[in-house]
Symmetry: C2
Subunit: 552 residues, 2 copies
């Protein structure tokens, strides 16, 4: 091989903030803080304070590869940690605060976090956890002295005091781009949390993808509300990509009620918002009771949603309420997370007869860098014909190869593909449609039947607030499908009414075997339905004798 004669420059997280400081020094980061105030700063400020964080960490004795935990909302200090920690070759371990205490304890100890930084909201939580966190040398409250929590947290430091004297002209070190930059544990719907260890290379390449026009099209011309939490999957990589393109960031902190979000959208002239579909519920509820004119008062043009598939109703509601177009993204902790995006295409329109991929209902196409493969149970490749589902495998520079400290080592198959655990179809133009998690998939003969399509059809009924399909065992096989429904308050709907409604929309063999109603859904920390819990709840379900389908 002949080596090219181009410069050997590593892709490092620190170069993102330095680029922003050089080319977008006045672009803003607006935060609602844990202290309840609004804060405005610029990328110029962020660069200086990140360097101070870096210098302060080194002074504390933090070395390359050390893990630094954060329990924090979306805010400027958390952003400083994103750059300050990774920039010195240490590893930012963002911790999902909405886990059970035993899970929190597990991930912090498994990660071997040496320092734990937290927003003051979490002071009581940290106080409870502290005795079990033997590896944590110091706890740092991400606030100033006057807001320092009065608590029994041992070895407590104050963030602002810590960085006040540190050198704002600290020079970022250069190192290999495959060095670990951050760590995030998958919440998972079942099992022990597993740590995904991102690298500088994967983070920067992923950020470049977020800036692509056909991906999330992040840009210096946008004002972006980042609702996706910075404590999970690096907030979809947006904190890095925003610095890359100099995009104004609006960080909502802990306050997600409808009114507060509406005010943020309005006052910060937000053009783009990113988050899970559930984020929008309080806002829709707020607007229902108000005589407001969002299309006139706001300038929201685009909404990026991920985490779960969006329904046609949701897409239409965002369009009718805000005049906003939806970009659907698909991914998971192990894919950084962007594995596919479905931006509005030229043909995307209000017309109801456009194909579903153009309405943003399919998960979309993989960006360059991500390769996808479908396989059957025996691992044989399945054609990309848009109708044959198979297990979805993914390969690419921002896809995980294994989990942190996992005794199993690499999780890749012989061709280097990672098994996502999803069941999906891919069509001839590369459009991906997730039909199930593998654990919830059910076969009718050789066909996988999609529970997601059934769920989407069910939430189309005006009385249905939330729907989940679970596959239940009989004779050790998953053969029966139960549609579990959370009805909307003040609405009434019967099992038979729902089945009739669905029979019009779906092929007969796709209908559920029965319908059950609940008063509350069990959710994971990231807002996904805990289907494992549902399966436990309905393990003894008494099936009707008039089963709609007779599985083989």
């Amino acid at each position: 091989m002949l080596k090219g004669l181009m410069q050997d420059r590593p892709l490092l997280v620190s170069s993102l903030i330095e680029h922003a400081a050089r080319c977008h020094p006045r672009a803003e980061i607006v935060s609602r803080t844990a202290e309840g105030t609004m804060s405005r700063c610029t990328y110029g400020d962020l660069s200086r304070r990140s360097r101070q964080v870096a210098a302060a960490l080194l002074a504390l004795g933090v070395g390359p590869g050390d893990r630094i935990g954060t329990l924090a909302w979306n805010g400027y200090r958390h952003l400083e940690m994103y750059y300050g920690v990774s920039g010195i070759g240490a590893v930012l371990h963002t911790i999902h605060p909405r886990q059970f205490p035993e899970q929190l304890e597990y991930v912090i100890n498994h990660a071997e976090d040496r320092y734990l930084f937290f927003d003051i909201t979490f002071a009581p939580l940290v106080e409870r956890l502290a005795p079990a966190l033997k590896g944590v040398k110091r706890f740092v409250a991400m606030t100033d002295r006057k807001n320092l929590p009065l608590s029994d947290i041992p070895n407590l430091l104050c963030y602002e005091d810590l960085i006040a004297e540190a050198n704002p002209d600290f020079e970022w070190p250069t190192f290999d781009e495959t060095t670990a930059s951050s760590l995030c544990y998958t919440a998972g719907t079942t099992g022990t949390p597993k740590g995904v260890l991102y690298s500088h290379r994967s983070t920067v390449l992923h950020a470049m993808t977020l800036c692509a026009t056909d991906s999330l099209a992040l840009s210096a011309n946008e004002s972006a509300l980042l609702a996706s939490p910075m404590y999970h999957v690096n907030a979809w990589g947006v904190p890095y990509a925003a610095a890359m393109c100099g995009m104004k960031l609006v960080l909502p902190g802990p306050v997600h009620d409808g009114r507060s979000i509406y005010e943020l959208l309005r006052e910060e002239r937000v053009t783009l918002a990113l988050g899970v579909p559930q984020f929008w519920s309080p806002l829709f509820q707020y607007l229902e009771g108000m005589r407001r004119n969002p299309r006139k008062e706001l300038c929201l043009e685009r909404v990026v949603v991920g985490g779960t598939a969006s329904s046609r109703e949701f897409v239409d509601k965002l369009a009718s309420t805000f005049g906003a177009r939806v970009t659907q993204v698909w991914g998971m902790t192990e894919t950084s997370p962007i594995g596919a995006t479905c931006p509005p295409t030229a043909m995307h329109a209000d017309a109801s007869n456009v194909p579903s991929e153009q309405r943003g209902l399919k998960q979309g196409r993989p960006p360059f860098g991500i390769e996808m493969r479908l396989v059957d149970d025996a691992g044989r490749e399945i054609a990309h014909d848009g109708c044959t589902p198979g297990r979805l495998l993914a390969r690419g520079p921002w896809v995980a190869s294994g989990y942190f400290k996992s005794p199993e080592g690499s999780r890749l198959d012989a061709d280097g593909f990672f098994d996502t655990g999803d069941i999906a179809t891919i069509d001839a133009d590369g459009y991906l449609q997730i039909t199930d998690r593998a654990a919830d998939a059910i076969k009718s003969g050789d066909d996988w039947m999609s529970s997601i399509e059934l769920e989407n059809a069910a939430v189309g009924h005006p009385a249905v607030a939330e729907a989940a399909v679970i596959a239940l065992d009989e004779d050790g096989r998953r053969t029966h499908r139960l549609l579990v429904i959370l009805p909307r308050t003040d609405f009434d709907v019967s099992r038979d009414e729902l089945l009739e409604y669905l029979a019009v929309k779906l092929d007969r063999r796709w209908l559920p075997d029965d319908v059950a109603f609940v008063e509350q859904f069990p959710h994971t920390a990231t807002g996904k339905v805990r289907k494992g819990r549902l399966r436990e709840m309905f393990a003894d379900h008494r099936w009707p004798t008039d089963l709609q389908s007779q599985p083989a």
Copy 2:
């Protein structure tokens, strides 16, 4: 350091075309061929035929690192060479056909091209050159048997015959991403051509940049006329980025007359065109004589121009004729070429009082990956204040470190920066403005005086077709500036008239010392004015006694 646990996937040119084949198999490539026909194919076809090219090259004995020359227009077979050659670890050497024969001979022999592929247009040229090209084993005419040129070219092969039997399912090899992928010699305005050796890594990272919204915003929703030649700087990297995003490509081949281009724009519903400003002259001339309505007949929305700074008149003319917005790009062979882009910003409008960076007149801001520095003659850093010019240095993963087979080795300074040879200012928001090539720069006291601003002002006069400012020696120093003018046919203008016109537009000390008229401009192969030649022509210029400025 702790290594991340992400997949170790190299960034390779072959993965670009494979991505297009998987996700955009039906997107089109429309070519006007050297044979005079129109040809349509898809990325699916391109993938298959590129694999055939690869397999055929291996069968010919081509090995890793071997250089394969091309003398070809923008067309689908050239595109197949882009992927087929680099995909096997060989090096695509694109050759600029509009050089003097001795330069052509020099670059082909210096590159040690083992095979030379050419469009039939160039058969006479190849025939003349062949005897001097001792290292070339075979010559391949990029055509089919029935169009094979009748000539005395030795060892002639026919492209279509060569690949017809080759395996379309050939599997691309995997190798290190720093491997050389292509080679392009700088035409340069003076001196011996120098070879820039791109790598797979630099090419893929650069292509990702072209897809960024704030860069060239390439997208699957565009139909793009690629006028920038594929024989120079990889046509700005667009052939790679187009596959990355699945963009329709319209390749004009050898025919650039106004009428042909207009028909291409119209029939292929071109939304985006990329090329040097000179490309547009025949089209403007064609439209002057015609009763056509381009704004109605075409859907041209964006024009990307590079190579030279565009004037306000040019930007306004594109807007008024087509309703198209201009994205200015700056770069050079050594920067792949994108070093800065100036896309229309949110504030970009028809209003004449918007700052010049928002009208696309500044060269723009560097994308993430490119760092810029200004230094004075002693190598000391100069502030980015938007008014102090200095030598422009650049650093980044797609900037050259040195030249192919250069005995001098690395051209980088101690901090890893490459000297671009341009004089520029950079403002506090990172906007770059090139004021001069270092060789044409002239100082007034401590100030560099911009010849580019003077040239732009001069072409604003209705009688001026082209203008160039050269600095001429007196007492061994560049102290006098001569404005050389090519008048428009049927227009008449005197030296004094021009000086009066300029005196209204520019500060007095920026005015030239004299004006001279020529009937033709000497140009480089890439359309730049050969200022070195102009300096020779006017070496004995008799300066007027009423010099406008009295340099120190």
